[in-house]
Amino acid sequence: MTTTDHDRGTSQGTQELSAAGQTEAAERLRELGAVLRMSEAESLQADLDATADDQRMIINMGPQHPSTHGVLRLMLELEGERVLRTKPVVGYLHTGMEKTGEDLTFMQGTTNVTRMDYASPLFNELVFCLATETLLGVEVPERAVWIRMLMSELNRMSSHLLFMATNGMDLGAVSMMLYGWREREETLRVLERITGLRMNHNYIRPGGVAADLPDGWRDDVLRLLDLIPPRLEEYDTLMTGQPIWRERLQGVGVITAEECLALGTTGPILRSTGVPWDLRRDMPYLAYDQVEFDVVVGTYGDCFDRYAIRLNEIRESMRIVRQVLERMPSGDFRVQDKKVTPPPRARIDESMEALIHHFKLFTEGFKVPEGEVYVAVESPRGELGCYLVSEGGAKPMRMHIRGPSFVNLQTLPHLMHDGLLADAVAIISSVDPIMGEVDR
């Protein structure tokens, strides 16, 4: 409770979970009671329920554990097989990307942010560019908007397919892992054809996108859209209706809507509790108000709902992609503003001015008017936001990414509470954290 001593040096071990008997009441309140709106005494009571301290054991899970999705470390307090308390310890992948972002121009910023959530890099680029464009007051051409939507939805598919793979693997369905990776690779192949890279695309740039869609993109995407639905049917046969799969997931890791709202949770976890909140529909950005899709919600808030939501979101994404294919407008793929977007390659050979613009853009970058702005998009994991503060220069003064995984990880102690250790892996998997985004 000595929080007024704000600048004290923290001593070793303070990030860790200490035994229940040594934990202060306020911290116990944090772990459980505050979210359930209990009083301090009630939450102590709820947790202690007559187990002696020496019956409990604290174990570390991770950071080097194949099922913790990277370098997540969990400290679990167990009583036999029962998980009493959980504390996620993060920071093992912290590389100071927000600090790096302050040293890169707005032009270079997308290269940096795309490496945060490495399973859905295009969303990071998108949110950074939307924030930059809001500060600049630039209107993006329609074709660029629809290209961005196409790329977002393809990326959502690949990200959810990755979830299908890892979720299957974590629960012992190894064949599912192979199928999931296989389909994800098909999706990444399309992304590679368009952007040139499988991951960390750096494709969406302030003012539009880096390059126009290549010849034959329509056939590639159509081939993908024909390929994936039968595979999803296979997933249904293999897992959705299968009794073992249901036994492992249904009723495991249950969370309520109230808890989710209190914890700032967004995305599939919030929707699994029955709250139909999807930024694409509720606060439309790009042109999501012009396409038709359903927001998939669950009922019970358990691992199975979160699995089913993601599976069906792949189908909804394909629905959106089909509409984008039909309605892709022609025109520019980036804004024709010499101060923001580089000139086409051919112009550099013939025009001195174009060369100067190109040089200036890539050395100094463009100046962004003073101000601060927050923009959010619906990433596969929830609300992905970007808070930008510009002091009028070519580099942001502050670039903050609100990573949904970072906030969503706070649900883990509540999902795990009173569950079995064997279910812990299923629960971590269903939260679908990407540590690159948690630690940034």
Partner: protein, 179 residues
């Protein structure tokens, strides 16, 4: 200046009635690129957030620290709000009205402490720890204010503007001395 929406700016040809800025539970409200921003004082913060929560601003999505060391005289603050070195920004969400609201709280360098919102929005637990870790801003009433991203024995707060970005000595436990 593109940012011409600040109602407190007297040079703007706005209706004079708008002069005594719109307030929200006593906190002046401005607009930044069309987004609503409220500027509660530090001691108002908890009361404002609590009142807003009762009005249906159910989620606090994030807590963000900003260090204005290199940019002290910013133009987007309303009258009566003294710019300080640090700012803590809270993002609130109203699901019913589908609206967003940002709270910007000024935090002086000499006493970098703000009240914690943990009791109202438990989801601010991790973001407040992150802000403490990165800026050294304390959150009074936070149940477990420790570093979250940096190692426990790290010195300094990396996202402060006077924290150099270049090479730094390796500070991990047991590592050989700086090269």
């Amino acid at each position: 200046m593109a940012d011409a929406t600040t109602p407190a700016d007297p040079t703007e040809a706005r209706e004079p009635e708008h002069e005594p800025v719109e307030t929200l539970h006593g906190a002046p409200v401005t607009s930044s690129r069309g987004q609503r921003v409220a500027h509660p004082a530090r001691d108002q913060l908890v009361a404002v957030v609590r009142a807003l929560r009762n009005e249906g601003w159910l989620q606090c999505l994030d807590v963000i620290g900003v260090d204005y060391l290199t940019h002290p005289d910013r133009a987007d603050l309303p009258e009566g709000v003294t710019p300080e070195r640090f700012e803590v920004v809270y993002l609130l969400l109203h699901h019913g009205e589908r609206a967003r609201l940002r709270l910007r709280v000024q935090v002086p360098e000499s006493d970098p402490v703000v009240p914690s919102l943990f009791a109202i929005h438990p989801g601010t637990e991790a973001p407040e720890r992150e802000t403490f870790d990165m800026f050294g801003i304390g959150f009074e009433g936070h149940p477990d204010l420790t570093r979250i991203l940096m190692p426990e024995d790290w010195e300094g707060h990396p996202l402060r503007r006077d924290y150099a970005i270049g090479r730094i000595p390796v500070q991990f436990k047991g590592a050989p001395a700086a090269r």
